[in-house]
Amino acid sequence: MKKVIRLVNVQIWAMLANMLSVGDLKKKKVNVIYAGIVLFTVVLGGTLCYYAYFVGSILKAYNSIEVLPSLFMAFACIMVLFTTLYKVKGTLFGFKDFDLLMSMPVSNSKIVASRIMLLYVLNFVFVFITMGAVTVVYGILARPGLIFYLFNFLAVFLLPLIPIIIASVLGTILSFISIRLKYSNIIYIVLVFLLVLVWMFLPFSIDTNEALAEASKAMADRINTIYPLAGLYSKAVTQGNIMSMIIFAAVSILAFMLFTWGIGKIFVKLNTEVMTGSYKAAYKLGELNISSPLMALYKKEFKRYFASPVYVLNTGFGMALLLILTVCLPFIDMRDLMGDVQLAVSLKEFVPLIILFCMATTCTTMASVSMEGKNLWILKSIPVSAKTIFASKILVNLTLLSPSVLASVIIGIILKFSFIDELLVLLLVVSFALFVPAFGLVINLSFPNLTWTNETVVVKQSTASVISIFSCIGLVAVFYGLIKFTDNFYTGALLFICLIWILNIIIYKVLTEKGVNKFIKL
């Protein structure tokens, strides 16, 4: 156990150093970033408290307040499952310091335990905030005894274990399936996409017309049936049932031990297969395709993108969802999909909001410089200007954003938008499409991380990715705010287009001047 803790300790510090990599920024700027992280945590906690109080008040009115902790527990578990599924390849398998770790005199199961604990730590912060919020709200609304706080405190530490194990098992199976096939990474990405989509559309089968309290109770019952540990947890914390708490703890810990032991047995075999790939029989030189330097860089960048499942899954999901929505649109009623949202926005406002949101999550350039890592010397030594390199990275992002233009046209036709509405949506999409890649690149050049050992850290947890994604989503919120503020879709949309074009001019100027200097100094 001592060795596991020591390994986890070293890996967490390495990960934190990577995550909080702020380059050579001045202390004042670094403090601003740390303050931003604290602010983000407070906002997330506050939002969760608000929702917990909103749902809890209704549940209390219907004498069903005991459902609240298990609802939030299920929410935390699903989030852990989702995010871990993305991280299995890169954290448990195919991670860069594999050779170093395996050369140490530590058993495989202990190394597996340390890697899973790393996933645990990554998830724990979110679980802690979520369960902290529900504990506070439930404490106010239900006034439970001391045992609730005690059991809930213990449960918070145990709660991420089973979802992490389930995600790891699924991730391991997907890795096993994909490595035997030619385009293993693409197949792995598609499989994870499909799994996440199944998870996402499962709740739609629940009847949304029921009252919230009834729906919540029904959902809690369903969760308890699908995931019995939720029932045990609920009984333990809301009824103070010691036996349920003991079983909940025992199952979580035993499953963890069993999983680390089991994976320990195939750890080396699986990692060897994941990392070495396949050897082709004696290669014979064939026809070579010639491209221009920009096209060569573009192709290289595209291949790099699809070689990283975590990169694709985190930056391609929005566009995949948009495409699915576009294809399914003739067969679904948009007003059903909007649900209660239609009270706040019209269809013509909802469509660009959804498209812009999907685009905001499709920012590949936020990590494209960092992803070069130790390969950066190649880009820096080839006879190509920094601007051409930037262009290749932006072009890849634009290619991935291009379905949004197609989607906006098709959705407009299906929903019978007027010519002016269609034109406005297209203008919004094109303007935002030019903004997202350039902005991501400027941010990545300002907060590069070239010393990473795990792609997940660069794609999901780096300063550049957090700033880029939240800023782009923030701009979508600004679009919504402008429509509401002006009380007119057309005025709001035109103001937003003007704002984006001003930002585009500034960003492209910064990129071609300061950005080039930053790249040279990397």
């Binding site: 790939g277 290669y283 330097p293 390969n375 820096k380 080839i382």
Partner: protein, 239 residues
């Protein structure tokens, strides 16, 4: 072909890695750059290759300052670092073709040159495999082939013989000699003094960022071996 004029590099924190270095490498020269660990060899080589930014002094390749026209300088130069980290998601042939595209190597020449150098380094049969499956030596060979296929005027290598098997090392030496006969210049760092002594017509010895010996190999070594000269220079305390 290569002129280094009063080049200095100070890293953040104040460490002066290279201090006022000036030297010249002409067409046809094989220049050996020798020094102990941390002497400033890699810093100098990275600056020549355009990988490292610097403020003090200048580096001219084919008469052009790398600060003024880095793209031209890089076009006529090939650089191989001491530990070549290549694009592991590409196959060997995809990487070579990528380099061919970047340096705009003609289609007819490209195929011929890849075949010639891949055969010479016995890597042809592995070119279809992913670089991630390559050993250190195979990556080193691939990096060397990628440097040679665009026929550079200046070849800059950092410890090129580390990781190569004896046959590949012998092949590389032969290619280096042939390139110099054809008018290219080679600048490389090494710790293997015997290789430097036999292969280089000119050498430079760097100590704590300063050039302490420089000139034709015969003149620098005199009647002693390069190893004796190097040890004497390295062990002498600087004023």
């Amino acid at each position: 072909m290569l002129q280094i004029v009063n080049f200095s590099k100070t890293y953040k924190g104040g460490k002066r890695a290279v201090d006022g270095l000036s030297l010249e490498v002409n067409s046809g020269d094989i220049f050996g750059f020798i020094g102990h660990n941390g002497a400033g060899k890699t810093t100098t080589i990275r600056a020549i290759a355009g990988v490292l930014n610097f403020e003090e002094g200048d580096i001219l390749i084919d008469g052009v300052s790398i600060k003024r026209d880095p793209v031209y300088c890089k076009k006529v130069t090939a650089y191989i670092p001491d530990n070549p980290d290549l694009y592991e998601h590409l196959s060997g042939i995809a990487y070579l073709n990528f380099i061919g595209d970047i340096y705009e190597v003609e289609k007819s020449d490209r195929r011929h040159l890849i075949e010639k150098y891949a055969d010479a380094f016995e890597l042809t049969s592995n070119l279809g495999d992913s670089i991630s499956s390559y050993s250190h030596g195979m990556k080193q060979k691939l990096a060397i082939i990628s440097a040679l296929i665009h026929s550079p005027k200046l070849l800059v290598l950092d410890e090129p013989f580390v990781g190569l098997d004896p046959k590949a090392a012998h092949t590389l030496k032969g290619i280096m000699a042939q390139m110099c006969k054809n008018g290219s210049a080679i600048f490389f760092s090494t710790h293997v003094l015997e290789v430097a002594e036999k292969l280089c017509n000119r050498i430079g010895i760097i100590k704590n960022g300063k050039l302490v010996a420089y000139g034709p190999t015969q003149e620098v070594t005199g009647d002693s071996s390069l190893e004796d000269v190097f040890m004497e220079l390295v062990e002498t305390k600087q004023p």
